[in-house]
């Protein structure tokens, strides 16, 4: 069980301040969804959580230890990170790509021990790619590729999973399958953070939502607390109706607000 604590985090990208004074605590067993308009700093925040970008001020700590100062190998075993829009350079078999998730454990993809093989098989099953083991990765459709890359992150079996837009390229059915898998991962005890643009999916799957706008954390909490019509107007610049149907939050964007 690992707790990810973000304290007074600021990040500069070149001359631009991308994140400003973020405080956020991410609990094990909980799926936190990061939302926010384009350019709000969601990916930068996730990269800082993964230890891939140095904070200008503040820190990200994993069970109290600053992530930026962890050894790369220890960090890779603790935090699995799925960047957005990943590609595979070579026509490697799907199974070999997913097996790369075992590298942090010192397991080479062509010589996986039994636990590694089990982790790869379980990851492929959870994203619905069982039977794809020997397909060349470059022959997959966009959706299949996205699921394969998620399986690669799941195969690490890290206590923290960070997924940047894991369902962006997927059809609705696979969006639901993948987010069910991610949620199951959280409920099995992992600390899980996902960036989503679809507010309805965020409302449906998140245990907790963090709303970023212009590098600042505007709100965080349960979906019904964060996703209000007023916040959607001020952060996203849209007029939207927020309703509840069968106990579920429903967001219906209606029009862009003038001058927002």
């Amino acid at each position: 069980m690992m707790r990810l604590e973000i304290r007074a985090l600021s990040v500069d990208l070149g001359a631009r301040r991308a994140l400003q004074g973020i405080d956020l605590s991410l609990e094990p067993g909980c799926l936190t969804v990061l939302i926010g308009p384009n350019g709000a700093g969601k990916t930068t925040l996730m990269r800082a959580m993964a230890g891939l970008v140095q904070p200008s001020a503040g820190e990200v700590a994993l069970n109290g230890a600053p992530v930026a100062r962890m050894r790369a190998s220890a960090r890779a075993r603790a935090i699995a990170y799925l960047p957005q829009g990943g590609t595979v350079a070579w026509p490697l078999p799907v199974e070999s790509v997913v097996a790369l998730g075992r590298l942090p454990h010192g397991e080479e993809p062509d010589r996986l021990p039994a636990p590694g093989r089990d982790a790869v098989a379980a990851a492929l099953l959870s994203v619905g790619l069982a039977g794809f083991e020997n397909r060349p990765a470059t022959s997959l459709s966009g959706g299949e590729r996205a699921r394969m890359l998620l399986a690669r992150a799941l195969a690490t079996q890290a206590p923290v999973l960070l997924a940047d837009e894991p369902v962006a390229a997927l059809d609705p059915r696979h969006q639901l399958i993948v987010l069910d898998g991610i949620k199951a991962c959280a409920h099995a005890g992992a600390t899980v953070v996902a960036i989503l643009h679809d507010l309805n999916l965020a409302a449906r799957f998140a245990d907790r939502i963090a709303l970023l706008d212009q590098g600042k954390l505007e709100a965080s909490g349960a979906p019904e607390v964060v996703l209000t019509e007023a916040r959607l107007a001020s952060s996203f610049g849209i007029r939207a109706r927020v309703a509840t149907e069968d106990g579920r939050l429903l967001i219906v964007p209606q029009s862009p607000l003038p001058g927002a």
């Binding site: 890779a76 960047p83 490697l92 790369l100 690669r152």
Partner: protein, 334 residues
């Protein structure tokens, strides 16, 4: 997943043995296979001089240089996630040649000096580093090739300038032939001059091998998997530059072996960049030694330069790979 050991490596080693024997036999002095073997192991007078002092050094040089080019090509292709990467495409050969020519024309050293490989290595390193820096981390192959073309052209212009300003026409002829790339008239001194650098280049590149696997998924993912991407780039760029510089210093400009070799072995070992390295090195050695045997067999007044032959084979191969992968090359980040 567990893969059965490929028969490729033993096969390539056997091929190298056969080619090495052929290389000791082929040449203007007619020596049979048996006589060549006898002359190699015992003192057989003139035949031993031909085999040991003329044909053996060129055989060893072709093996070493082919190996380091194949290894560098496979490592650069893995690092840049692109099947078109090679030291020749980055202008490293021209830059190494320019470094060496500068040293020779400064008049301070001859072509057997230790300063030569160092100058050539500096030129190669500068060119690869410049291309990678100018093209940027997420450059497309088009940008990389254009940057390589520019750097290579600049180095080529520098070499031309040095040649045109040379007061000595004999030195000019010598340097032009040297630039064409050849193993003709190379001695054990040339082997000694390049061997430590080839060894160093091989160690640097092989040290980076396992990190190349993770890089197949891009730099960001590789970093998240614990790979030190900056160190890996440093090892490969240094290894490729040292190997290229040392090779150019003793054998002139021989290109495209590193581009072709990895493509030859991938049907056997798959696309895992780490598994490609050693077989590509062995295939490079076989390719270059075969080319050096071939130039000795082509009937012509003077021996055809091996660098000319590798370019004649390599450039059409380069065009073929571009044509085959045209669609993805337009947008593929390097």
């Amino acid at each position: 997943m567990p893969r059965p050991p490929s028969p490729l490596i033993p096969g390539l080693i056997a091929l190298l043995g056969a080619l090495s024997l052929a290389s000791l036999v082929i040449g203007p002095a007619p020596i049979s296979t048996l006589a060549a073997l006898k002359a190699f192991v015992s003192d057989e007078g003139a035949a031993s001089i031909v085999v040991r002092e003329i044909r053996l050094p060129r055989t060893v040089l072709a093996l070493m240089i082919g190996w380091v080019f194949g290894l560098s090509g496979a490592a650069l292709q893995g690092m840049l996630r692109n099947p078109l990467a090679d030291t020749a495409v980055f202008g490293a050969l021209q830059a190494a040649a320019f470094g060496a020519v500068l040293v020779i024309y400064s008049g301070l050293v001859g072509t057997l000096s230790w300063a030569l490989p160092f100058a050539a290595i500096a030129g190669a390193m500068l060119s690869i580093a410049l291309v990678v820096a100018v093209a940027g981390r997420s450059a497309t192959i088009v940008v990389l090739v254009l940057a390589g073309l520019a750097v290579g052209s600049l180095a080529g212009a520098g070499t031309s300038l040095a040649i045109s300003l040379s007061p000595n026409p004999f030195a000019v002829t010598e340097i032009v032939f040297w630039l064409l790339g050849s193993f003709e008239d190379r001695s054990v001194v040339h082997v000694g001059l390049s061997a430590p650098f080839v060894l160093m280049a091989s160690l640097l590149i092989l040290k980076a091998s396992s990190g190349l696997r993770a890089l197949a998924l891009g730099e960001e993912t590789a970093r998240s998997l614990g790979t030190d991407v900056a160190r890996l780039r440093g090892l490969i760029v240094a290894g490729a530059a040292i190997g290229t510089g040392a090779s150019v210093a003793v054998a002139g400009s021989i290109g495209f072996v590193g581009l072709v070799a990895p493509h030859l072995v991938r049907p056997f070992v798959g696309y895992d960049p780490a598994r490609t390295l050693v077989p590509a090195g062995l295939a490079g050695a076989a390719l270059l030694l075969a080319a050096d045997c071939a130039v000795r067999l082509i009937p012509s007044g003077a021996e055809v330069k091996v660098g000319v032959l590798t370019a004649l084979i390599g450039v059409p191969f380069f065009l073929w790979v571009i044509a085959r992968r045209r669609a993805e090359l337009v947008e593929a980040p390097a």
